[in-house]
């Protein structure tokens, strides 16, 4: 029966839907450029829409380029092309109906990335039910807003689970820095002799436009030192989810945990699956929720790791409440060395959630002069702020500020 559908009626709608499907994938984070959209249309044209599996395989082969993208594609496909009577549905399908369908079985949890991609903040629904769409969005988003401002420490298990899902989607937009490698560019600063000469040889004359190159830009390495002592317990568990997300989002992220000892967990966090990764981390670390010896651990980092990890202009995130069992002994020296070996030292401190926070404890006083930036890290909102901090142009050293006290970094 599908074959009997007049082509002129079916095709534009189908093309439009494929286009929209690729947009959904793009919004969910798959790299789907215009070339791929065209390729997808061609693939579907070649394979036809008579068989669902063929249709799916055709889209899949064009739109996926890494194994990790499979799961997201599968879910998106199931959701978007739900109706088994595929072509028939396409004939009728109008974009807003995707949303109403989604509502019908809201009990099946969706990956948040995908949910957000399917329900864009601003719907351009051309027909029907704009209000319902808005209601749907509000229903699923409002608890999120509450959670954003909530302290990790006061969350219920269910809330924690939801925050985990949100954290998994957080990205750190580290500033890209010019490196000493050149790439071809339309408006670069260095002449690309090779390309220019090839053009000249082809043209048989030296009057050709020059080809240019410019310095490539790359994100600097990120080194995270995270405190897992007793006082940080509740936070560090949430932060591990965050660290897992950023480790898998970009290359050159190194993570070390410290309490009474220093443990490098970078390799464990590289596991794609967050539960597998964290199980391995907890097996590797022996000093969960114990005391803190910040000075000793930083000393070990400086001696054993700093030259290996901080060589290429790394940014260091130090996550700690600064409460030190050694009362800040030897801490200042190690902090100074750490600050001098990295491009930027950022201290994330959950204690900053208290508006009356003061730098009383010896450990905090010893560390403060050497950090470039001091930021809170007790809830989701603060993690987002962190992302914003990176996006901002470089703060110069000596400008660390926190509510309640001024910077003491020596000039």
């Amino acid at each position: 029966m599908t074959a009997s559908v007049p082509k002129s009626a079916g095709e534009p709608r189908l093309a439009e839907n494929i286009l929209h499907f690729t947009r959904v994938l793009r919004a969910a984070g798959l790299p789907v450029g215009p070339a791929k959209v065209i390729a997808a249309l061609q693939a579907v044209e070649a394979v036809g829409v008579e068989r669902r599996e063929d249709f799916r395989a055709a889209l899949e082969s064009v739109l996926i380029e890494r194994h990790e993208q499979q799961a997201l594609f599968d879910q998106a496909f199931e959701l978007y092309w739900r109706n088994p009577r595929l072509l028939e549905r396409m004939m009728q399908m109008l974009l807003p109906k995707v949303y109403t369908r989604r509502r019908a079985d809201a009990e099946a949890p969706l990956p948040a990335r995908l949910a957000e991609a399917l329900v864009p903040p601003r719907s351009d629904a051309r027909e029907a039910e704009p209000e319902e769409v808005a209601a749907d969005a509000a229903f699923s988003f409002s608890p999120r807003e509450v959670l954003q401002g909530k302290d990790f420490e006061t969350m219920t298990a269910a809330e924690l689970a939801e925050v985990k899902a949100m954290i998994a989607r957080l990205r750190l937009p580290l500033p890209e820095l010019p490196i000493r490698r050149l790439v071809g560019a339309d408006r670069g600063s260095v002449i690309d002799m090779r390309a220019s000469l090839r053009a000249m040889a082809k043209a048989g004359t030296s009057a050709v436009p020059l080809a240019w190159r410019e310095r490539r830009r790359r994100r600097p390495p990120l080194v995270v030192l995270c405190d897992i002592s007793g006082s940080m317990d509740r936070y560090s568990r949430m932060l591990l989810f965050f660290l897992h997300a950023i480790t898998n989002d970009q290359d050159r992220v190194h993570t070390l945990l410290f309490g009474t000892r220093l443990t490098n967990i970078t390799r464990h966090l590289r596991r794609r699956d967050v539960d597998v990764a964290l199980a391995r981390v907890s097996a590797a670390v022996s000093d969960w929720a114990g005391g803190t010896r910040i000075g000793a651990c930083l000393a070990e980092f400086n001696r054993r790791w700093s030259r290996r990890l901080l060589a290429q202009g790394a940014i260091v995130l130090l996550i700690s409440d600064g409460l030190d069992s050694d009362v800040g002994e030897g801490l200042a020296v190690e902090m100074e060395r750490l600050a001098k070996s990295c491009r930027r030292l950022i201290w994330l401190n959950p204690l900053l959630r208290y508006s009356k926070f003061e730098a009383r404890p010896a450990g905090i006083r010893a560390m403060l002069p050497y950090v470039d930036e001091l930021l809170p890290v007790h809830n989701l909102e603060s993690l987002k702020q962190l992302a914003a901090t990176f996006a901002r142009p470089h703060a110069t050293r000596g400008t660390a500020r926190a509510p309640g006290f001024a910077s003491r970094r020596a000039a």
């Binding site: 000493r180 490698r181 030259r307 290996r308 060589a311 290429q312």
Partner: protein, 308 residues
């Protein structure tokens, strides 16, 4: 004397290196032997100043081969590591063709991308035998480059060939002896390491270090040499940010010779410590008391050895 024959046993390697003033321990000699025997690159990692680069130089010298050195740095690209086209010559060629008129563009395009216009950089040089023998290719401080260059090296190390888009693959007639060093300022990718024989170069034992000092700083008194070695070995046992390497020991011994010293004393140590330790914190950690104590111990040890 250039010799095409490679050492036939580990003992041969030890002997050969020693003849050229390199005192290798047995493990290093075994790695070198295997690298030569199996035709695999040798990957040397270790702290700065323990003689990683030296081994390539000595190997080249001992085997009578040309040493081709590629010093790595951030942003190293194929134009400075492998080959580059000679742009001025190419430009002149195009101009000449223009002046003669009746340019055949296709022919010109193939003409100016021939070997005549190729500038060979270290890696390509290493693919060509010098005086009938494949050279030693030293890729120094690989950790200073970035991952893209490592990825490029994979082809070179796996096939001993370089692919130039305009010319095709250029294959080494006989593969070079490759030595790669790294100071471990970052981890080198497993794919590179997998193709190599890996060796961690450690600080030398006291006996080996003494032999090195005696050979390299012949002007130093025997007693002074012993004291210098005993002192440096003790420094390495301390909790320092950067322990002195052999290069520093030799520098220090030479400094002391230049000062006409024949024995260590705390004051001289304090004045010349900058030859051994390169971090202010480390120098600060060796206070007058510490220096006095270490000098005392070193003198005792040297005296005991001399007496026995």
């Amino acid at each position: 004397m250039p010799s095409a024959t490679l050492p036939s046993s580990v003992d041969d390697v030890v002997e050969l290196l020693e003849k050229h003033d390199y005192f290798a321990d047995r493990r290093l000699a075994t790695s070198v032997f295997l690298a030569l025997k199996m035709g695999r690159p040798l990957f040397l990692e270790g702290e700065a100043g323990v003689g990683k680069t030296e081994i390539a130089k000595v190997l080249a010298n001992a085997l009578g081969r040309e040493l081709v050195r590629l010093q790595c740095y951030e942003g190293l690209d194929t134009a400075s590591a492998v080959y580059e086209w000679n742009y001025p010559r190419q430009m002149i060629e195009i101009r000449l063709a223009e002046a003669q008129g009746g340019v055949d563009r296709e022919a010109l395009a193939t003409d100016i991308f021939t070997e005549r216009f190729l500038i060979r950089r270290p890696i390509m040089q290493a693919l060509v035998p010098h005086r009938g023998l494949a050279p030693v290719l030293l890729i120094d401080e690989l950790d200073r480059t970035d991952e893209p260059f490592e990825a490029y090296l994979l082809e070179v190390l796996a096939e001993y060939q370089v692919t130039i888009p305009e010319l095709g693959a250029i294959v080494a007639s006989s593969p070079p002896i490759v030595v790669i060093t790294s100071n471990r300022t970052r981890e080198i990718h497993d794919a590179i390491k997998r193709r190599c024989l890996y060796h961690w170069v450690d600080y030398p034992t006291a006996a080996r270090e003494l032999a090195i000092v005696r050979r390299k700083v012949p002007g130093a008194d025997l007693r002074l040499s012993r004291e210098v070695v005993a002192f440096t070995q003790r420094l390495r046992a301390m909790d320092l940010f950067k322990a002195p390497g052999i290069a520093e020991t030799l520098d220090w011994a030479e400094a002391l010779v230049a000062l006409d010293k024949i024995a260590l004393d705390p004051e001289t140590v304090a004045n010349t410590l900058g030859a051994l330790l390169k971090y202010q914190d480390d120098i600060g950690a060796v206070s007058v008391e510490v220096a006095t104590q270490l000098v005392g111990e070193a003198r005792l040890e040297a005296a005991a050895e001399l007496g026995s």
